[in-house]
Symmetry: C2
Subunit: 185 residues, 2 copies
Amino acid sequence: MAIKKTSRQEILQEAIKLFKIRGYYNTSMANIADACGLIKGSIYHHFKSKDEIGLESLKYIHDYFCEHIFSLAVRSDLSNVQKIKLFVQKTDDYFLHSEGGCLLGNLALEVSHENLAFKEEIKAYFSAWEDALAKIFGAKYTDKEAHELAQEYVALTQGAIMMMNLYGSSENYLKVGEKIISLIE
Amino acid sequence: MAIKKTSRQEILQEAIKLFKIRGYYNTSMANIADACGLIKGSIYHHFKSKDEIGLESLKYIHDYFCEHIFSLAVRSDLSNVQKIKLFVQKTDDYFLHSEGGCLLGNLALEVSHENLAFKEEIKAYFSAWEDALAKIFGAKYTDKEAHELAQEYVALTQGAIMMMNLYGSSENYLKVGEKIISLIE
DNA sequence: GTCTATATCAAGATAGAC
DNA sequence: GTCTATCTTGATATAGAC
């Protein structure tokens, strides 16, 4: 059997899983390599350092959210009610199946004090999330109100993900989405 | 000058500061010892392992909140409005001066998947927080409503602390306390 | 109670063979 | 692109002198 070529993306996906569950500092290059069926030295052919993997992991998730979720806010073929319902549905789809919660939220607490590049990327993600929500809320609220509501619901969502992962129950997390939808309907 | 005797509590306080800012796994016994003016070997005279320091740190904060904040819920000399105002004021006093946010929230994301003893302690802390808030809300809401509101506001507070530390602004964090008070007034 | 010294292990990272 | 092998550093933890 031919030796499998491991792609950058494959490594990122395994790294993301590990970072979410084990934490960033507690995940070693050997752990990541193991998950990819490699040994740690081989990872350095694809990435020059662990920090590069960390930063690319954050960008990978950020890009996913931009493409699949945040972009809903500027879809001209949807009503605002449709937008917010899809927004919540896709957000829930992601976090209900994301063992270990939100990578960006987790690393916000663990790493962002120590690594400014990580911190900037995490801030950009949460700002994009807030801007997207605020754009949808803008249909029914002033700009200021929309942004305040958006900030509140980004924070509430992150807190609810924390509790969902801690208690192993999605009940309260799901109420957050319902409340967000009720703000527009 | 006599050699200073370092107390268990002193070590815990330095460890807590470091865990909040640098993260748990990224804080070494040498870091903790440095902060105490010791060398790492000396720490083992007081604690048998890093995990013991971690768990004791969680309990130390949990105890502080029980004694100074959660206990307000059962004070018979205060009205419910007084209780909730003091509750918010003392919570704010703590988190507005806590560099690195909430230790229990941070370790919930970083460590709780890997260390079940940590996870149980963190759950106990958040449950105590919720129960205290629910007790105060109980004056105006049914038991079920009070607990749902309490869960929501614990989550929102944690999310708001995350954002406050990320963006360096307390503005949105402070709105959470105002909203909690408005639920009772 | 703190120190020096050390044991043991695992981390991130690199060099060069295949 | 992956491997073996190795370098260097720093981690947790322990033993024993002062």
